[in-house]
Symmetry: C2
Subunit: 197 residues, 2 copies
């Protein structure tokens, strides 16, 4: 099969293997990137350590350590240019988000990240609570969905009210950032460690 | 059933609920801590936000951000007393480990954390490599196990050679720390973010 140059380039970036090897690997594996990586490694051409790939986006990795060193946050914010990433106002913007995470303790970035079994358990608890409170069966579903939304707003970073201005959500704060900096900006990922948790 | 005081105390710490409520919850759920938490929440006595529990260990959360803000590490090191956690020498010790993680890019803390399917794929690749190299079938298993150990030393923090002194492994560096500080010390967890990875 013929393999397009863009895919070959992507495989080269991921594995560090030569162009001809990458072309052959993609040809042998029907153009499947993951299989092509395995193929190159089996041939001894690519090594495991290059698997993670080269970074392509711009942005900023920052941390916030709360005084006393019992609580810390690591955060990746993506933007489009290094120029924006290095600007003083952008640095402040990312620090505000890091401090928010330290204070508001989100468990997930988005609602989509909440595992199905966690949602299931929350639903079941809210249902039992509502029935225990004597709510009529026919409105229980509505109550449960309302509480699930409230739960999501508590545990998902993008849905949380911003600690420095609780009239807006973090998703709005990011949208404001996009307008201010004139680039697409997104929260890529975060980690929050509290001692012994 | 009768419930021991220690379990009741643990449930109180986790939920913030009163002693009698905790006793009742454990009685109703056969002493199962997780079920007792769900029971208390269904009764509206405990809230979701207290679920994560109180921190009990001492230690230190620290970060290392590589100049340029394209790479960062968040790290939790446990020890037994706050006195040790705040000592200058311990702070240096934790910073050495954070910088090691930034440089050596481990994927896991211990070999036990490597997912079974990852090990499976590595084994299969090494087997094919060895057979491609014309190694006789009867020694292939030994070669594969040797390479798996080498792989673990590359991707597991505790098995990696320490970047500041590659004659010892990180697990040895931690053991040295235990001797130096006279307390049990362990690496609890870490996160390493590289921009766009």
């Amino acid at each position: 099969m013929s393999v397009d140059a863009k895919t070959v380039k992507a495989l080269r970036d991921k594995t560090g293997a030569g162009m001809m090897d990458c072309k052959k690997a993609l040809g042998e594996t029907g153009g499947d990137m993951e299989k092509a990586i395995v193929y190159l490694r089996e041939k001894g051409i690519a090594s495991a350590s290059k698997k993670s790939g080269r970074a392509t986006r711009e942005g900023r990795i920052i941390s916030y350590i709360h005084p006393g060193n019992k609580l810390g946050v690591l955060l990746e914010i993506s933007c489009e240019t290094d120029f924006v990433a290095k600007g003083e106002q952008f640095i402040e913007f990312t620090q505000d988000i890091a401090m928010h995470i330290a204070a508001a303790a989100p468990s997930y970035l988005t609602q989509e990240e909440i595992p199905a079994e966690v949602l299931e358990q929350e639903r079941s608890i809210y249902r039992t609570q509502a029935l225990n409170d004597g709510k009529p069966e026919k409105i229980v579903d509505k109550i449960v969905e309302g509480r699930i939304n409230k739960y999501a707003a508590e545990v998902c970073l993008l849905d949380q009210p911003f600690v420095k201005d609780d009239k807006i959500k973090i998703s709005d704060f990011v949208k404001n950032g996009i307008a201010t900096f004139g680039e697409n900006i997104s929260i890529a990922r975060f980690a929050r460690f509290k001692l012994g948790e």
